[in-house]
């Protein structure tokens, strides 16, 4: 029997309201990218208004994340090399962390939270590359966003969410199971609802919603399966902490959809560790 939730999902979203909105600069970049009339220079100009963001983006583009042999000096050059949609996704991944900086470390260490999310994004992008996915940058961004629902819950219902985290630790149990049991929804449901509110693509919404239960994903995309595997890999390695301390069970169907062999995981881990060393300091 589903318990009567202490709060409805819609109510939670209203409660977090303004705080849980998309960064303005991302929306401007997104609008410019969708407009075929906009030049690379104009997109570069929008991003250039935030020198800290421009610097961080260039650091990412020049890191082991891409491994380009020549240094990329300007945002316009970066757009020309990696593509507009890819840069837009990188802007979202970078700005979203600033948006949630105000959450106190009382119940969840925010550095650990973002370390887990970044690791998951990097792992997903590496797995996507091995799985020969086009535009694997989107997987990095989805990885960064995959547990965003938990931050919304911490912002909207901090005491209740703390009870859920403590309950999961005491039992012990998987945090998403305890969320569902005590609240009637889990952070995947919340994350999906927020992404929908933000008008992000249905592919992003489905991947965040189903990354902890990819067998329910009815879309053709392998994204939820790739994020699921990335999340399992990162939990195995104990990189960061987004509240759940246990390696979730790996769904075999999702594993098969990714098309990797067990022997390839060693290479995924080596690349992940190398990229974490370089990317983490520049994005956090």
């Amino acid at each position: 029997m589903t318990p009567t939730p202490p709060i409805e999902l819609e109510e939670l979203l209203e409660l977090t309201g303004q705080a849980a909105t998309l960064p303005t600069l991302y929306m401007e970049v997104s609008k410019a990218v969708e407009d075929p009339e906009t030049s690379f220079g104009e997109i570069g100009h929008i991003i250039g208004r935030d020198p800290s963001l421009s610097g961080r983006l260039l650091n990412v583009v020049n890191s082991a994340f891409y491994g380009f042999s020549n240094k990329i000096e300007t945002i316009t050059h970066a757009i020309a090399v990696i593509g507009t949609a890819q840069l837009r996704d990188l802007v979202l991944a970078t700005t979203i962390m600033d948006k949630f900086k105000g959450i106190p470390n009382e119940w969840l260490d925010m550095d650990s939270f973002w370390k887990h999310s970044i690791a998951c994004g990097l792992a997903a992008r590496i797995i996507g590359t091995f799985a020969r996915q086009r535009n694997p940058e989107r997987l990095y961004t989805i990885g960064i966003l995959h547990d965003i629902g938990r931050l919304i819950m911490l912002m909207g219902i901090p005491e209740k969410m703390n009870e859920v985290i403590q309950e999961a630790r005491q039992r012990p149990g998987l945090l998403s199971d305890v969320e569902k049991e005590m609240l009637g929804f889990d952070h995947g449901d919340v994350g999906c609802a927020v992404l929908k509110k933000w008008n992000l693509t249905p592919g992003f919404q489905a991947a965040v919603n189903f990354c902890h239960r990819p067998h329910l994903d009815t879309t053709e995309l392998p994204d939820s399966s790739i994020i699921h595997l990335a999340d399992v890999v990162v939990h195995c390695l104990g990189m960061g902490d987004a509240g759940n301390r246990y390696v979730p069970p790996l769904e075999d169907q999702a594993w098969r959809k990714c098309g990797l062999t067990p022997a390839m995981l060693g290479q995924v881990v080596s690349q992940l560790e190398m990229q974490m060393q370089e990317v983490l300091p520049v994005v956090m």
Binding site: G67, L237, P248, G266
Partner: protein, 99 residues
């Protein structure tokens, strides 16, 4: 030097299957395809000097497993080949210690 594991490019393409002898030309090609590391077979001298299987992930299961690691894998499907591989990797890292 003999390749121990398939050399795979960053986009997933197999560049050279395991078992091939690596030449200078191969190294040049690997570099241009973004391959940053390779696993090679140990020479007979090294194989003799090291106890059988002492470096493989499976042998790491004989280690005293850190209770924290054991607890971490509590709820996952430990019999799945991918999870077994990951457990091997984590245990190898435990054995090697912090880098």
């Amino acid at each position: 030097m003999v390749l121990a594991v398939n050399a795979i490019s960053s986009n997933g393409r197999v560049l050279l299957p395991a078992g091939n002898v690596i030449s200078e030309k191969h190294l040049k090609i690997f570099k241009s395809w973004g391959v940053v590391e390779l696993e090679i077979q140990a020479s007979p001298e090294i194989q003799k000097a090291v106890k059988p299987n002492s470096g493989s992930p499976s042998s790491a299961t004989k280690l005293n497993i850190d209770p924290e690691i054991k607890e971490r894998f509590r709820f996952t499907n430990k019999k799945h080949p991918a999870i077994q591989e990951m457990m091997g990797i984590v245990l190898m890292r435990q054995k090697e210690g912090p880098s």
